[in-house]
Each structure stands twice: as structure tokens, then as C-alpha cells.
């Protein structure tokens, strides 16, 4: 009982011990904030990496793809196990290409990846429709132009002189427009959805207070030319397209490379008939992905197909995030180790200061183990209080991190979190209860560990020498 009483009294009366508490507290708070922010970044990044990729991808090894996707999908649908697990499926055709357009009378050429999709099916698999810029497309994604885009297209077409050479262009387009707009449908090229970063660039010289620093190079309704290769012969093919919408996943790899178009159009352009390069599968429960992958591999054992989950496809990046987080955690734990040495030093001082009291307790019959318990318990209590306060502070900071960032940015005039670097509009955080618990456990453990040595010394003190200590 006396151990508890003395621990409590020492905690309340030793102001020196407050230093221990503060150091543990700061360490714990830092660890929690950094972990939450890192966790937020990695969750957000994972979300985006996942973005376009469906849960499981059935993929051809080359750009030639495979035939008869509908029968393969039917096979999956008829499988007793898979039919229960699969939520949605869609076939896509992917190919590299070259995109050309004029901006301010200057021709630009960019390498892109074209993805031929069936919009409704692609929406069902997820990670597509919600990233389209035009809100009308969220519900029912389409490659058709909306009113303003069509109007712009008609005006541009009418006023255009010679722009970039388009072999498919009818030569009589230089003539003035007819008084009545012609029925646009037959002449209108196919609409495509461009990655946001293809159609925009960031103006680095824009004034800082401008909310949107993106300059648009291609408006909906503008024409582009896409050149790619045809299926079997590998000869170049190209066509004229019109921009219908943008795809903005905030993942620059996707936003600056991907161009979506209807899969039938791409198949026709590349003379590939019904060939596709992958089947995207969305699962009802992602936790069963390994089983689904195993079953799919079994099912298509003889076909030249690769079956992967999205995580396997992005393995390298995800592993990098994990490693980064692990190393950072080890480094940050050194902060608490430093706090541990603080505890060691301060405890040693307290033991010296309390030498006489230790002698008194021993004279009154306290055992060595009892004295040991007092000081280890004291260390535990300091760790507990420090970790508790640190957790509260850490969580508070994490929850209000964006306000704090804004405040510091206002005071110092220095932008701490440049939003354009990450395309995040605020600092993402993700509080993981388990890691908060681990941090607490670890720091309390360190506090106890570092108090063992002084506690041992205290318990070994000789009662008479301790009593005589001045």
C-alpha cells in the first residue's frame, strides 16, 4: 500500500518529474501526429492508386489482347464460387498513343495511354465516373458533348482555318459556314475524355491568392488527333476526336496520361474486332481477393492471361510506402528513447535525493522488492501520465492539423503545405487506434525500462548508510 501512496505523493510533489512527463508527452504526441498524417497520406495515396484499377484484373500479356471477352465473363458469372463474389465486370482495351492538339496556334504532341471502355460497365466497376469533371457524367457517364461543348465545337469548326494536318479532313471545310447549322451528328467526331493534366497546366507565375492556378489548354469541344497502332499489322492509324470531358483522379500518373474513348470505336480504329486487353472485376468483399484470384487462375489456366489484384499490380509502390512508414517510426521512436534517458537521469537524481527516505522505509521494514516497486511504479506512472497527455495533445493536433497549418501559414507567411504538390486540398489524416495504442504501450514500456536501473540502485541501498546520508 505504501508503494502506491508514495508513488502518488512523488508524482504530485516532484516538479523535476514533470520534465519526464513533458518529454514523454512530446514524444508520444509527435509520434501520433506523424503517424496519423503519414497514415492519411498513404491511405489517400492507396485510394488513388486503387482509383482506376479494379479489385482484380484479368490481363493479356501484350497489346494484342484476347478475344471473346463476353464468353470469358459468362464463364466467370457461371462459376458457382465467383458468381457470388463478383460485383461487376467490364472489358477494357488499352494501348499507347500520341495525342496532338493546337494551343494558342502552337501544335503540341503528347504521349498518352488510350483506354477503350464501355462507360456504364466501367462506372459499375468504380474509380471512374466519380472522377469526371462534368458533374452530369457522375450519374451516367457518356462520351457525348454537352450543349456548350457542342456549340464551341461548331464555332471552332466554322471559324477554323487550316489547323494541324488532318488527312481525314474534308478539303471544303475552309468555305464559310452554311447559314443553317448542319445536323451535327453525322459530322461530329467521336468524343473522348482526357486526363485533367493533359488539358491543363499549372501557371507557376500566377498570383498566390488565385484559387485555381490551372490554365486550360483544351476546352470541351476542342478537337484533338490521336495516333496509335492498328492491331495485327502494327501500322499507324489515327483519327480526329473532340474533347467531351476531363478525368481528374488527382493521381498525376493517371491524370496526365489517360485518354478514355468508347471501346467499340477503339476496336474499329485498330481493326481489332472484339479483342480486349483486360477484364476489370469488382468484388463484393475485397478480403476474399486472394481466393478469387486463385479461382480465376484455375479457370483460365490455359489462356494467356494474368490474374492480379490491384495491390499486386502496384506492389512496388505500396511496399515503398510501407518501408517509409516503418523507418520513420523507428526514427521517431528514438525521440521516446531520448525521453527515456531523461527519465534515467532524473530518476537517478531523485533516488539520490530520496536516499534517506529509502533508508527510513527500510528501517520500518520495507523490503528491497518494495523499494524497487516504488521506483518502477513511479516510472510507470510518469510514462502513463506522459503518454496519456501526449495522446490527448497528439489527437487534438491531428484533428485540427489543417487549422494549425493555416494559422502558422498566416503568422509566418510561409506556405507549409503546398496543396498543388499533392493535389490535396487539405492535409489528409488517418488516426489508427491500434498504432496509437502501440505508441502508448511503447512509451510506457520505455519509461519503465529506464526506471529499472535507478530503482535497482535504490533497492540495493544499505539501510544504515542510507539513513546516515546527508
Amino acid at each position: 500500500m505504501y508503494k502506491l501512496l508514495l508513488c502518488w505523493k512523488y508524482l504530485r510533489t516532484r516538479y523535476l518529474a514533470m520534465v519526464c512527463i513533458v518529454s514523454v508527452m512530446l514524444g508520444v504526441a509527435t509520434l501520433i501526429v506523424v503517424n496519423s498524417v503519414m497514415g492519411g497520406f498513404s491511405t489517400k495515396l492507396k485510394e488513388r492508386l486503387h482509383g482506376l484499377l479494379s479489385d482484380v484484373v484479368l490481363e493479356a500479356y501484350d497489346y494484342d489482347g484476347f478475344t471473346d471477352a463476353p464468353s470469358k465473363m459468362a464463364l466467370i458469372r457461371n462459376d458457382p464460387f465467383l458468381s457470388n463474389e463478383v460485383d461487376a465486370m467490364t472489358a477494357t482495351l488499352e494501348i499507347f498513343a500520341m495525342l496532338q492538339f493546337n494551343f494558342r496556334e502552337v501544335p503540341f504532341t503528347r504521349p498518352v495511354r488510350i483506354i477503350g471502355i464501355e462507360p456504364e460497365g466501367r462506372k459499375a466497376v468504380g474509380g471512374f465516373a466519380e472522377h469526371l469533371v462534368n458533374p452530369k457524367n457522375h450519374e451516367k457517364p457518356t462520351f457525348n458533348l454537352d450543349e456548350t461543348a457542342r456549340e464551341r465545337f461548331m464555332i471552332r469548326r466554322a471559324s477554323r482555318g487550316v489547323d494541324f494536318p488532318g488527312p481525314r479532313e474534308a478539303p471544303n471545310l475552309n468555305e464559310p459556314p452554311p447559314p443553317d447549322p448542319p445536323p451535327s451528328k453525322p459530322h461530329e467526331p467521336q468524343g473522348v475524355i482526357l486526363g485533367y493534366a493533359i488539358a491543363h497546366y499549372r501557371d507557376r507565375n500566377a498570383p498566390a491568392d488565385l484559387p485555381n492556378k490551372d490554365v486550360r489548354t483544351l476546352e470541351p469541344g476542342d478537337e484533338v488527333v490521336i495516333t496509335t497502332v492498328s492491331g495485327a499489322k502494327m501500322s499507324p492509324v489515327f483519327d480526329r476526336f473532340v474533347v467531351s470531358d476531363y478525368f481528374k483522379s488527382e493521381m498525376s500518373e493517371y491524370d496526365s496520361n489517360y485518354v478514355f474513348m468508347p471501346i467499340e470505336h477503339l476496336q474499329k480504329l485498330r481493326t481489332m474486332e472484339d479483342r480486349v486487353t483486360s477484364i476489370q472485376i469488382k468484388l463484393k468483399d475485397y478480403n476474399k481477393a486472394p481466393k478469387v484470384v486463385a479461382r480465376l487462375r484455375e479457370l483460365f489456366a490455359n489462356a494467356p492471361l494474368e490474374v492480379q489484384t490491384w495491390e499486386q499490380k502496384q506492389g512496388a509502390v505500396l511496399a515503398a510506402i510501407r518501408v517509409e512508414k516503418g523507418i520513420l517510426n523507428i526514427l521517431l521512436f528514438l525521440i521516446i528513447a531520448v525521453a527515456g534517458f531523461g527519465i534515467l537521469a532524473i530518476f537517478s537524481m531523485i533516488v539520490v535525493e530520496k536516499t534517506r527516505d529509502i533508508g527510513i522505509l527500510k528501517a520500518l521494514g520495507a523490503s528491497n522488492g518494495g523499494i524497487l516497486t516504488i521506483f518502477i511504479g513511479y516510472g510507470f506512472l510518469l510514462g502513463l501520465v506522459g503518454a496519456g497527455l501526449g495522446t490527448i495533445i497528439g489527437l487534438e493536433i491531428t484533428v485540427h492539423i489543417n487549422d494549425i497549418e493555416k494559422f502558422i501559414a498566416n503568422v509566418t507567411g510561409q506556405d507549409i503545405f503546398p496543396r498543388d504538390v499533392y493535389y490535396f486540398d487539405k492535409i489528409p489524416t488517418d488516426i489508427n487506434i491500434f498504432s496509437v495504442f502501440l505508441v502508448n504501450l511503447g512509451s510506457i514500456g520505455i519509461a519503465v525500462l529506464f526506471s529499472i536501473l535507478p530503482a535497482l540502485r535504490a533497492s540495493m541501498l544499505h539501510p544504515v548508510r542510507a539513513l546516515r546520508y546527508e
Binding site: L5, L6, K362, A363, L467
Partner: protein, 268 residues
């Protein structure tokens, strides 16, 4: 050995060593104390009287010799048993009071009982212990100072608190190491009076170490330590273990000087 002998020591030796220098403090001390006796141990500083008390109180172990308490040898007991003995059978009063500065007077008094009980048993018996502590505080005349910290108490009050603390475990034997050494004369006399009452009314055996002969005279019997030996006064009767009147030590003040002389010769 006499049946009523409560504690006795035979041929106690204690040497303090520091590096290569060893200082013998006790060089073969024999002494006894009878049950219910109020014994005082006198001697000049450095004569080894505190060391003797530490050995008897099992705070320290002799280098040679034996100590018996209630006919059982106690100097070679395990640490656990010695802790138990100090907590249950012995009470200690020190010159510098040795109260724990963080605890109130009442808490200080309760500490020995806390040491012997776990948290759970304390939850059960704590209130009984508290009542006993309050009674003892009132007995030593500190009913009004129970919730003060030691630094808020006067020397006499601190020593009374220490006495209450020593008594709370119902000790059979009370060790008092210069209990008046830090107090003014009047307060010192009060403290000794209190000890005497405890001895007479509650029949507590007391071994008191002091260098103050006037105070020692108020006790049943006096042992004088000179340079690590017990100096047996010639007047001492064979019935040494009975009660010896202190007035047989009338010539003691002269012996003070003599003992200093002896010490100097012994090179201590």
C-alpha cells in the same frame, strides 16, 4: 541465560571498511536487555553506540558475534525475515526524526502498517489503522497536527510523530537513537518522559542511545560504550539483568573525558 532476558548480544564485532582503511567500531560487545527494561546506552560520539543499535535492530549485520531475540538468533536471518522483524517487532526513533517529507504526520504514522499490508488488505483494514494512528497521535499530544507536513511541525512535534510511528505496529522493543539530540532541553525532557510512560504503562522494552547522561539517568540501567567495548562499572551488581538504579553511575561525568582519552589512544 536468564529467562527474562529479552535480547542479548555476544561478542559483537563491526568493522567499517572504506577502500584499504578499515575502522573497527565494535570490538566484542556483550550486552543484554530484559523484558520491560528501559536501557540506555551512553558513550561519546564515535564509541559505536549507534552502530550497536543498528546491529541490534537488524538494520545491519555484525562482522562477528551473535544476537538473540526471544531466544532466537536474528543476526543471520534472511533479508525477508529481518524486514518482517523490523516491521512487526521493533520500533525505531531517530535523532533526526526521519519522517517522510511528502507525507502528512498522520500518513507518516500509518506507514509501518501500510508496509505490512497490500493494497487490497489496506482497503479492508485501512480505516482501523487510521483510527489507531489517530489514537496514537492524540496519545503523543498531536491530535491537532495530524494533517500537517513534517516541515510545518516543530522538532518536538516531529519527534512525537516519530514516536507514534514507532508505536503503531505494537512493537515489543523500541530503539531510540539520540531521541533528544536535536531538541532543546525542555522538549527533550518531555520526550524522555513520554518514553518512560510508554515503558511503565505499556510495558514496552526500550533501548535508548544517548550521549546525554542527565537523560540516561532517568532510565533503569545504563551501559557505557568506550572505544568499542562495554565498560562495566565496578558498582554493577551481579544481578545485572535486573533493574539497576542509575544513581550508581554518579561518577560518570568524569568518565566522559576518560573515554575521549581512550578513544584518542585507540586512534579512532
Amino acid at each position: 541465560m536468564a529467562g527474562n532476558t529479552f535480547m542479548y548480544a555476544r561478542n559483537l564485532h563491526k568493522i567499517y571498511r572504506k577502500n584499504a582503511i578499515s575502522t573497527p567500531v565494535l570490538k566484542g560487545v556483550d550486552m543484554e536487555v530484559a523484558e520491560g527494561e528501559f536501557l540506555s546506552v551512553v558513550g561519546a560520539s564515535g564509541s559505536g553506540k549507534s552502530t550497536l543499535m543498528h546491529l541490534l535492530g537488524s538494520l545491519d549485520k555484525p562482522d562477528a558475534g551473535e544476537i538473540y531475540y526471544k531466544e532466537k538468533r536474528i543476526d543471520n536471518l534472511s533479508a525477508d525475515k529481518r524486514d518482517h522483524l523490523r516491521n512487526h517487532d521493533f520500533g525505531f526513533i531517530f535523532q533526526f526524526y526521519h519522517l517522510l517529507p511528502e507525507l502528512t504526520a498522520l500518513e507518516n504514522v500509518m506507514i509501518p502498517l501500510m508496509i505490512r499490508s497490500s493494497v487490497f488488505s489496506w482497503l479492508g483494514n485501512g480505516s482501523v489503522a487510521r483510527k489507531r494512528a489517530i489514537t496514537l497521535m492524540e496519545k503523543v499530544g498531536l491530535g491537532h497536527r495530524m494533517h500537517h507536513l513534517p516541515k510545518e511541525l516543530s522538532g518536538g512535534e516531529m519527534q512525537r510523530t516519530a514516536i507514534a510511528r514507532a508505536l503503531i505496529g505494537n512493537p515489543a522493543l523500541l530503539f531510540a537513537d539520540e531521541p533528544t539530540g536535536n531538541l532543546d532541553e525542555d522538549t527533550g525532557r518531555e520526550i524522555v518522559q513520554l518514553l518512560r510512560e510508554l515503558n511503565e504503562i505499556d510495558n514496552v522494552t526500550i533501548i535508548m542511545v544517548t550521549h546525554n547522561l542527565e537523560i540516561a539517568r532517568g532510565t533503569h540501567r545504563i551501559i557505557k560504550l568506550v572505544a568499542g567495548h562495554v565498560e562495566v562499572p565496578l558498582q554493577l551488581q551481579p544481578e545485572a539483568f535486573g533493574v539497576v538504579r542509575p544513581d550508581s553511575f554518579d561518577n560518570l561525568p568524569e568518565d566522559e573525558n576518560h573515554s575521549d582519552e581512550t578513544r584518542r589512544q585507540a586512534g579512532i
